[in-house]
């Protein structure tokens, strides 16, 4: 063809030049493990439900959340949120308030009455769960979702276990607990409350296809404390249980709580609410070494609970305790100093940890008990085929969230066992670290703080201390998530490619690389905010 003086080149004629052949490395989209998900004892996919919540799709976010955990409203109040401790955003400004968003979603679900349908076809298997605490309820929920018939048996007259009889109302209002339990009951789980299982063999003989033990650890540990006859010594677990039952014990004007765990804090704060003028926590180590959650300690102090760190109770008399001061040695262990003082006290409440009531398995020889807890296999099965166990009665951290995680894990393993299969856990992806992100792209946005009742005011009643976030604040907090290791469709890769070699597939569909033209420069990797693209070598 005769070209005119000015040469005309066809539009898109450069597409004939496949510059992808220059490449020695190629970019690849990946989904990595966000540190929050990795830290969650219940195995929640936090990054995912925050992402879904970010555009206001709260019900969808809640439904994503409850795939792993049926109790968002409870979690949002009592979980010690290891996710937030792990959150990469803490290194940018402050961790995302995951726990408060979880509570927002949980409360909204209760308010809107969102229900959970069981869509799995009935399997015909029937599982007995002994213990209606967080672990048992979680297992019941997950087994039911998998299509199994579930009977849940508990000695108490109401379900919830330690969520009801251990955690005081000011941390977990009972209507919240009741609502989330009722949702599980509505899924068709058969509750048998007020029915104590004294002997596991009898239950086995009833012919269930599998049994899950989750009786918890409800016996207060006793320490030998020399005491005069009239000394009033109580046990923390019983005190909290009695308060829940409406039979609050007479603790007197000055109450001393012995122990440094969360239960000690709960009892001291409860004592204040029952009218004690002074509630004093005596603990042999320091605040830093105390096992209680630091936020709980802070709230207790705000309410006027007094702390006596580095102290042990040597002797109890009516109205008075003898305290010995301790000092930490070079290994950080408390050692007696021989210095004593007297402490006025009308009662002493022991909160020195809890033990498992193993009486129901006394005559079962296949179950192995070490250090007072039942041993289980990685699939949570005990020595007896078909009998599984979890929660506080097996070796684990004793928190509600861990219990919920155990319930889920047990349910999936019981399901596999009933189907004569093995539950294959998907191998975790590598964890995303802060250095893998490009934080430039995230706006500076400090954490939204949840309102709290004032210390003095709240110490006089059982009203809930920590308040929830309103919708706009919850949304703001959700949007602070950096989506570590998972694409959130920010379009950066699509924008920064000098070769127009990233194909945007449309909302919700993500992106693809056009390897015909991608030269492998790697700008998309450097500029990806969430670390969701990696470079991999081309095969030579």
């Amino acid at each position: 063809m005769e070209k005119p003086f000015a040469i005309t080149l066809e539009v898109d004629s450069s597409l004939a030049n496949h510059t992808g052949s220059w490449r020695v490395e190629r970019p690849k989209y990946v989904n990595l493990m966000p540190p929050c998900n990795n830290a969650c004892p219940a195995g929640e996919n936090i990054q995912n439900w925050l992402y879904v919540a970010e555009d206001g799709s709260y019900e969808q976010a809640w439904r994503s959340l409850i795939i792993e955990n049926p109790f968002p409203a409870i979690m949002g109040r009592v979980c010690y949120h290891p996710c937030q401790t792990a959150c990469n955003r803490a290194q940018l400004d402050e961790a995302v308030g995951i726990n408060s968003v979880e509570r927002f979603l949980g409360d909204l679900a209760i308010e809107k009455g969102w229900k959970i349908e069981v869509t799995a076809p009935p399997t015909g298997s029937h599982v007995l769960i002994i213990g209606a605490g967080p672990t048992g309820l979680s297992a019941a929920y997950h087994l039911r979702r998998l299509g199994h018939q579930v009977t849940l048996r508990d000695a108490a007259t109401a379900a919830g276990g330690m969520m009801r009889y251990g955690i005081p109302k000011y941390r977990l209002p009972r209507e919240v607990l009741d609502a989330e339990v009722a949702r599980i009951e509505a899924m068709g789980v058969k509750f048998q409350l007020g029915r104590h299982v004294e002997n596991l063999q009898d239950a086995i003989d009833e012919g269930f296809d599998a049994i899950f033990l989750a009786v918890g650890a409800q016996i207060g540990k006793r320490a030998y404390i020399p005491a005069g006859e009239a000394a009033k010594i109580l046990d923390a677990v019983n005190v909290l249980h009695d308060v829940e039952d409406g039979n609050a014990p007479m603790l007197g004007r000055r109450v001393v709580v012995y122990g440094g765990g969360n239960t000690a804090i709960d009892v001291a704060r409860t004592a204040k609410r029952l009218g004690a003028e002074e509630a004093i926590i005596v603990y042999r180590r320091t605040r830093e070494k105390a096992p209680a959650d630091d936020g709980e300690i802070q709230e207790a102090i705000e309410e006027g609970v007094l702390m006596k760190w580095l102290s042990t109770v040597k002797h109890a008399e009516s109205g008075s305790l003898k305290i010995e001061k301790m000092a930490l040695d070079e290994h950080g262990f408390p050692q007696p100093t021989g210095e004593f003082e007297d402490l006025e006290a009308d009662s002493l409440v022991l909160a020195l940890g809890q033990e498992v009531d193993l009486s129901l398995i006394n005559n079962i020889t296949d179950l192995v008990v070490v250090d007072g807890v039942v041993q289980v296999s990685p699939s949570m099965m005990t020595g007896r085929a078909g009998v599984f166990a979890g929660g506080d009665m097996v070796p684990a951290e004793r928190t509600v969230t861990t219990g919920v995680g155990h319930g889920k894990k047990a349910a999936r393993n019981i399901d596999a066992w009933l189907k004569k299969a093995t539950f294959e856990k998907v191998e975790n992806s590598p964890i995303v670290e802060y250095k893998d992100l490009n934080p430039w792209y995230y706006s500076d946005a400090p954490h939204a703080v949840r309102p709290r009742l004032e210390g003095a005011r709240r110490a006089s009643n059982f009203d809930e201390v920590v308040q929830g976030l309103d919708e706009s604040t919850a949304l703001y907090e959700a949007r602070r998530c950096m989506s570590c290791g998972n694409c959130f469709e920010c379009d950066n890769c699509f924008g920064v490619c000098p070769d127009n070699a990233v194909i945007k597939l449309g909302p919700g569909k993500g992106f693809e690389f056009n390897l015909d033209y991608c030269k492998g420069c790697g700008i998309c990797v450097t500029e990806c905010p969430s670390g969701s693209i990696v470079m991999i070598p081309e095969k030579s």
Binding site: Y441, R479, D491, P498, N500, N514
Partner: protein, 334 residues
């Protein structure tokens, strides 16, 4: 403490796109239907800042004018890598004449459109720093003083990259090029020479002058859009890192442009009729060293012997920009 409502969309407005923004607030580059004025198959090096800058700017101009632009390109990398005969990567009306005459040709295109009564079709002149600062400078200055209706965009990669990295009037002090070798007591390009073209353009008191980089897409798009709202001569100076000439990793192109702005070495501002009207504040200030260290053209400042004297002079230049353009607003001590 004062509180302001925070308009917050997960990543603010720093990323290219944002699914949470209303359509009209989204960037041109996040649009699946963007023009792709410079499309795939071009022969720019891996990680080319100029290819990126040109697509950013021209796609924005296309949106601002409803697709009615003609671009006139000077000789240089951008021209060579986009149109190796018989291929073209341009998806817009585009023409090339000579190295030094792009502003004059653009003037002619603009005049022809006016003569034909097609004033809705807008003209863009564009070239690298060599064509703009040196070779085509006379024609550009003429275009400015006549106030011809052209937006001229300079993609500044700070040397003649296409011909083998020779020094231009936009090459920064101390940078090594093929013609300013890192030898002798004052290695690299000399201090005290070269041209600051945005300031020269401002001296012509044309309607609009702005600087931008490939590190801040939204800023660049906003400036192109604003430029298209004016008639008369306008000038946009875009910093586009060059992995080949600067000796940087191809994956770091955007990062290096960002460090240029965050160190203060490249001030991002806009001016109307010769007066600076706004500047983009530094978000996370960094010492110039962080910018210099990623580039082999400055490696002689760090080895075999560290040249604190030279680094200090470059830091001085950055600090001067910071105070001259108010890049660190008072009370902001980040």
């Amino acid at each position: 403490m004062t509180t302001a409502p925070i308009k917050f969309y997960q990543v603010g407005s720093f990323a290219v796109g944002n699914r949470l923004l209303p359509q009209e607030e989204r960037s041109v580059q996040s649009d699946m239907e963007r023009t792709n004025a410079l499309t795939s198959g071009h022969r720019a090096c891996q990680g080319c800042g100029e290819a990126l800058g040109a697509r950013y700017a021209l796609d924005a101009a296309m949106r601002a004018t409803d697709g009615q632009i003609i671009a006139v390109n000077a000789t240089g990398c951008l021209e060579v890598f986009s149109t190796p005969y018989p291929e073209s990567s341009w998806r817009i009306a585009w023409l090339h004449s000579l190295f030094g005459n792009a502003p004059a040709v653009a003037t002619g295109v603009s005049a022809a459109l006016r003569a034909k009564g097609r004033s809705e079709v807008r003209t863009i002149g564009q070239g690298g720093d060599g064509a703009t600062v040196d070779i085509g400078f006379g024609a550009l200055s003429g275009m400015f003083e006549r106030n011809d209706d052209v937006l001229y965009i300079c993609y500044d990669n700070e040397a003649y990259m296409n011909t083998g990295v020779q020094r231009s009037g936009a090459t920064p002090p101390a940078a090594r090029t093929a013609t300013t070798q890192a030898v002798g007591p004052e290695p690299g390009n000399v201090f005290g020479q070269g041209k600051n073209l945005p300031r020269i353009a401002m001296a012509h008191e044309i309607p609009y002058v702005a600087t931008a980089t490939v590190a801040d897409l939204r800023d660049l798009e906003a400036k192109v859009t604003k430029a298209m709202s004016f008639r008369g001569a306008r000038y946009l100076h875009v910093l586009v890192p060059c992995p080949l000439g600067w000796g940087s990793a191809s994956c770091d192109t955007v990062k290096i442009a960002r460090l240029a702005t965050q160190s203060g070495l490249f001030p991002v501002f806009e001016a109307e009729r010769g007066e600076v009207t706004s500047s983009t504040p530094i978000r996370h200030k960094v010492p110039v060293e962080e910018y210099l260290k990623l580039q082999a053209r400055y490696s002689h400042l760090f080895s075999p012997k560290r040249r604190d004297d030279v680094i200090d002079k470059l830091q001085g230049a950055a600090d001067r920009n910071i105070s001259r353009y108010g890049l660190l607003p008072e009370g902001d001590d980040n």
